[in-house]
Amino acid sequence: MIANLGFGALVISFLVSVYGAGAAVYGARKNAPTFVDSARGAMLLTFPLLTISAFSIIYLLATQHYEIAYVSSVTSNSMPLYLKITALWGGQAGSLILWSWLMSAFASAATLRNWDRDREFLPWVIVVSLVTLAFFVGMSIALENPFARLWQTFSGEVITRFLQPAGAIAFIPRDGNGLNPLLRHPGMVAHPPLLYLGFVSFVIPYAFAMAALITGRTDDRWIRLTRRWTVIAWLFLSLGLILGMWWAYDVLGWGGYWGWDPVEIAALMPWLTGTAFLHSVMIQEKRGMLKQWNMVLIILTYDLVIFGTFLTRSGVLSSVHAFSQSAIGPVFFAFIGATLIASLSLLLRRWNDLKAEAQLASWFSREALFLINNLLFVGIFVVCLWGVIFPLISELVTGQKMTVGPAFYEPATGPLWVALVFLMGICPLSAWQLSTYRTIGRAAWKPALASLIVPIALLIAGIRQPGALLGFWVIAYAAFLSLYQLFREALARYRAHNDNLLISMWRLIGRNRRRYGGLIIHVSVILMALGVIGIELFQTETQGTIAPGQQLTLGSYRIKFDSLATFDTPDGGLNVARAVVSIYKNNAGNPVPQLIGTVYPRRDYYYESQQPMTIPGVYSSISGDDIYVVLVDWQSITSQGATFKIYSNPLVNWMWLGGLVLLLGSLIAAWPAKDPDATALARRAALSRREA
């Protein structure tokens, strides 16, 4: 019953989407506002319809309706309620519904805005949103129906169909297969929705860009309208990535948070082009340049969002042959191709309208530096795209699969990342069109010189790796420059007003949220860069088998194995091996190592999925270092030995702290300012009053 309701809502939302897209095109072409209004109504209707659909699945998941194939594949009796609910995105069919649901929420929100001043965009924004939505909903209906039921045929075979096949009887398993153990983690509760929010919200600026191309209103209006959407999309995508990293760190037991896995890169690629877009739109706003390039970037970002979903959904990553076997892959591929061709031909049609209005004044102006920033981001993107695609090409051509792992990505992208951090320090100091190397030099030399203290101090402290010294210097230099600007400008305000320095800073930030939000995001990137250097250059590890009471030594740490217990959980779902490990630290001048903490590394074995999970025990110190203990193996009670792998991950917690600062900076940048047009009007009114 509920399944029928959910499926019915899904089908209606598909029909409504198709109708809305058609009505919007007709209304725009024939200049018939009633049709545009009707299309707007259709757009707004998709959200409640998809909400019914999504809640139907959630209800079925929560109430253990195992006759539904999706429910029995991702839930089981032993799972707690919150995991049953989050199983909505625990599998293919549910994830696609989540995608559509979020998409309709965002597109509806965009439709609800005040369109008085840019009414000609409305029908085309609706068309782009609804076509995208219809594609995803259509795929759910035709290929990945989450409401399909299990049936037993006459011959005893269990098949999945929505409608009862002739001669088949309903098949209701008593328990489900359960959610993949890797997904039973708080990080996984929030990571996919946030990532998807980032994905779908990038559809909005793309829809406006297409509307601008179609209507020929190729000024920067579409960019101004979508500025906050873009920042919010970027924020969600960034948080999705960071939460994914935290999950990987906490669950996979690999000792790190980023493995350059194609699934990770699939989500990173739209982030790279999106970040480039976020910067380069400012050049168009301020200088009327780069209009074509901004279009290219947003088209690329949109198609990378779809491509990212395609990569993780089509099975193409496990083998190109899985791609041709599943129907979903070719359909995705066709959609990406069609949207790419359509968007690029629109862009070519308007190419001449998008010529730059201004010219470049200086090689060191902010627009020139932003262009280098774009080159670097796109460069990293090219490395990533090629690294993901090459194994597929290789498999097609030679039949042999290749691994393209960190050994490829790290040397290829490392210098580009360092150059980006370097540029990040200078860019905010530069001025639009005016700055030269002398003006930048004059503004930057003091903090740049001061930043040399850091590598010198590290040299004295005994660090000799050139990579580390360079990395820390670039980070220190970018940090000093960013903070120097923030404080200098706050100080200027403080001198002018004589109020509290903190209040001055607060008001300063409020005055230009975008600039200072951006600067705070830069600071967050610097913090995260510390975490990256810590893992990349200073991670150490050791592994050994020890009996209870024995110790392993790693640097200044000693890890003592206290005890190990194996037991089944009360619900009988999994078998746990849990070790108790004490961590001691040698302190200078103190012969006795000091106990600093106890951790409990575990190996969980899930009976239903026959899958082991390695949960590390992590001790975090205040300085941001982690001791990360993995239980690799253990022997029977008689010999009482266990094998531990221990990583020392210096500075890693700066990564997570950076994530929080990034959230703060993005919120400041995206915080709704007063309507700029209204503010301008009010100012003009005030001025005329004063003059009067």
Binding site: V74, G90, G91, Q92, L179, N180, L182, M188, L252, W254, V263, M289, T312, R313, L317, S318, Q359, L360, A361, S362, A368, L371, I372, G379, V382, V383, W386, G387, F390, S394, V397, T398, Q400, K401, M402, T403, V404, G405, A407, A412, A431, Q433, L434, T436, Y437, R438, T439, R442, E489, A492, R493, R495, A496, R511, T542, Q543, G544, T545, R603, S609
Partner: protein, 198 residues
């Protein structure tokens, strides 16, 4: 082979079927190897530390899982492959020899990056060529956009004198020498703040 040790978190239903078979196959291989290697025994496997094994395993990828480094893969099959590395090390094999052995047995996919030969050369050529081409295009575009002197001169008349745009970089530099533009920026900032808060 198409099975997975670490199930893809976003597509979690690829169940491993061949793992058991792989382990069985491996046991056979190991049995053969140990009978051969007993001639050339140099050290007992127990003298090889886990860290030595991991140092080699780190450079290899699990032959049956996707994108899982051999040193962290939690499956039984991988544990046995690590034991195989230990055995080889105890026989005096170098890390390079072990890598070559794994490549011969399981193909190039066990390497962390494709070996630079044949079609694989494309992996290493395409990105730098694309980036350099991008840099070249950008350079050309920037040069084309660079303001010609006469345009700059006319532009100067449109903007306030304080921010007048010098017509060439040299003049810009000299102008910047005369009035430190950052101070000018600060002065303007203070001025604006004063105005807006009145």
């Amino acid at each position: 082979m198409n099975d997975k040790c670490r199930i893809n978190p976003i597509n979690p239903h690829g169940k491993s079927i061949i793992q058991g078979m792989a382990a069985l196959y491996l046991a056979l291989v190991m049995a053969c190897l140990s009978s051969v290697s007993s001639f050339a025994q140099q050290a007992s496997p127990s003298t090889i530390t886990d860290d030595q094994v991991n140092a080699v395993a780190k450079q290899l990828y699990c032959p049956v899982c996707e994108n899982t480094p051999l040193d962290v893969c939690p499956t039984q099959a991988c544990a046995q492959w690590r034991d195989l590395i230990r055995l080889k090390l105890s026989e005096g094999w170098t890390s390079q020899q072990i890598k070559t052995y794994f490549v011969q047995q399981y193909g190039d996919r066990v390497l962390a990056a494709p070996p630079a030969r044949g079609l694989n050369l494309l992996v290493y050529i395409i990105p730098p060529v694309t980036i350099l081409a991008g840099a070249f295009i950008l350079f050309r575009a920037l040069r084309a956009w660079k303001q010609p002197a006469e345009v700059a001169a006319s532009y100067n008349m449109l903007i306030p004198q304080d921010f007048a745009q010098p017509s060439s970089t040299e003049q810009a530099a000299s102008a910047a020498n005369a009035v430190p533009s950052q101070d000018r920026y600060l002065a303007r900032l203070e001025e604006e703040l004063r105005k807006s808060d009145q």
